[in-house]
């Protein structure tokens, strides 16, 4: 069922040279996920290093969101294994709570809780899951809000904020859990073009702080700028993994070339 390592594209295993001393933070081995007979993630094998930023690119429907949801255990995988720092997290029946504490996810559609203020959105999980005192949770939240230019929004409800502000609040909400890995799923796709920049700035800042990030994105120029490696998915399969300089100027696979030609033309 599982392929041996020799058959894999070498680049899927190789982590960037600057990071070789570290263990991979996330390791995926032949991860497959089906929805009613349709294989959405097909034998995906990938290592993600500590502090690495990996960008997932691929046409819509290629399985980027599903892969991220599997990493956060929002979807159980059907086959294959996932390790987080050498602990397998894909064991069926495993309590997902402790894993989700360590892996944050931010969605395309923000998914803030509309009946709570920004402050309550951010402090709910730290209070309930990390058992923080309300004062402590609030002070963490205030620090993070200030860091992302949202200090005056704590008492607002989400529907009073712009899309860009809402998405930044969603990022802060995930960060308040002090995750070791952040999964960002097309976090700028639902935004008006003029608001994309402010959210991408947050991602740059996160990378600057050494966060391990997996980012599904359609923003090719952003991926080229910040990614350590870029992974191209097609119909649920990893077609090619390469550093951005290689991926965007000299991709090895023909399918990658076709995809990039199509999206970069627009």
């Amino acid at each position: 069922m599982t392929r041996s390592n020799d058959e894999l594209p070498a680049s899927a295993r190789a982590v960037p040279e600057s990071l070789v001393n570290e263990l991979p933070r996330l390791r995926l081995e032949s991860v497959s996920k089906c929805f009613d007979e349709v294989t959405v993630c097909d034998q995906i094998t990938l290592d993600i290093a500590v502090g690495e930023m990996l960008c997932l690119i691929g046409a819509s429907g290629s399985g980027k969101s599903t892969l991220l949801r599997c990493l956060n255990l929002l979807e159980p995988v059907d086959d294959g294994r996932i390790w987080l720092d050498n602990t397998e997290i894909s064991i069926p029946g495993l309590d997902p709570g402790p894993v989700r504490k360590r892996i944050g996810i931010v969605f395309q559609s923000f998914n803030l809780f509309p009946h709570m203020t920004v402050m309550d959105n951010i402090t709910l999980a730290p209070k309930r899951v990390l058992q923080q005192e309300p004062e402590q949770a609030q002070s963490v939240a205030r620090t993070l809000l200030a860091q992302f230019g949202l200090e005056d929004k704590a008492k607002e409800y989400p529907d009073r904020l712009s899309g860009g502000q809402q998405q930044r609040v969603a990022i802060v909400r995930a960060l308040a859990m002090k995750p070791e890995v952040m999964l960002l799923d097309e976090i700028t796709s639902a935004l008006d073009p003029e608001l994309v920049g402010e959210v991408l700035d947050v991602v740059r800042a996160l990378k600057g702080q050494g966060m391990t990030i997996v980012l599904a994105t359609h923003e090719m120029s952003f991926a080229r700028e910040v990614a350590d490696r870029v992974c191209f998915l097609d119909k649920g399969k990893v077609v090619e993994v390469a550093p951005p300089e290689v991926m965007f100027s000299n991709p090895a696979q023909q399918r990658t070339q076709q995809f990039l030609r199509r999206v970069l033309q627009q």
């Binding site: 929002l74 989700r100 809780f113 709910l124 999980a125 309930r128």
Partner: protein
């Protein structure tokens, strides 16, 4: 005042006048036509008898306090029970499947039987078991019948509210590490309840009236008191008095519900 505001004000004044005039015209026509009916004098004597109304109204009002009390202590029970049933119907884990079945049975049965029938069956049936006081009170068991029926309806309203909360809200809560119970308590239920408050208000109004069904099994509440007076005085005016009292409560409640609904619709659009 801008010309536009002046125009709108005059339009408003005009429509108020038109409405008032047409209402007065309809009233006048009715006041002129109805007394021409052959039975009007008899109806007036037996339904709209002012002295009898004045004489019975205070006692009716006092009897209404019993309705209010039954209402006041059944409402919280209904809400708690409805919440429990709605949550039963919503459990996902296989181990708790029997709870789902129980919830479905409960709502099917208690929504399927006419309220008055349940009031009879439970209100007469259980005291018939010969339990000691106070467990033999039809007042108690009649209220239980109301609670069972209404909690089944309210549970369904809550359940559809829970299902209307988008799956992405659950995903977001889970992704933050919240447990199933916390996700329900802090994320799903508050949104579900808020969305369904107008629908639940309709059941509150209906309950307010259905308390009168207990008059058939014993407690001397408003309707039964009116009934006593009717027999005593051979006159239907006490029923009209009872209707007035019910309307005084239900009309404001209905208006308020409509107001809530309109507000919600405005928010959603």
């Amino acid at each position: 005042m801008t010309p536009r505001q002046r125009y709108e004000q005059s339009e408003r004044r005009r429509s108020v006048i038109v409405a008032a005039v047409s209402l007065a015209a309809v009233g006048a026509v009715l006041a002129w036509l109805v007394p021409m009916a052959p039975g009007w004098e008899a109806v007036k004597r037996s339904f709209f008898n002012w002295p009898i109304l004045v004489k019975t109204f205070p006692t009716l009002l006092k009897a209404f306090m019993l309705d209010v009390m039954i209402f006041a202590w059944s409402l919280p029970l209904i809400i708690v029970l409805a919440l429990v049933i709605a949550l039963c119907r919503n459990v996902r884990s296989a181990a708790l499947f029997p709870l789902r079945v129980f919830g479905a049975f409960y709502t099917d049965i208690f929504r399927g039987v006419p309220t008055i029938l349940l009031v009879y069956l439970i209100g007469f049936g259980i005291p018939g078991l010969g339990l000691p006081r106070p467990w033999n009170s039809p007042y108690l068991w009649g209220t239980v019948a109301l609670v069972l029926t209404y909690s089944a309806y309210v549970a369904e309203v809550l359940r559809s509210g829970i299902e209307s909360v988008h799956a992405s809200q659950r995903s977001a809560a889970h992704s933050l590490g919240l447990s199933e119970a916390d996700t329900m308590r802090y994320v799903v239920l508050p949104q579900a309840i808020r969305r369904q408050i107008p629908a639940m208000m309709n059941f509150v109004i209906a309950l307010q009236k259905d308390v009168a069904l207990l008059s058939f099994i014993g407690p001397v509440e408003l309707l039964r008191q009116a009934n006593v007076y009717k027999s005593l005085m051979a006159n239907f005016t006490p029923y009209v008095g009872a209707a007035i009292i019910f309307l005084c409560v239900t009309i404001p409640a209905t208006r308020y519900t409509d107001h809530l609904l309109a507000k919600q619709r405005a928010q959603r659009s």
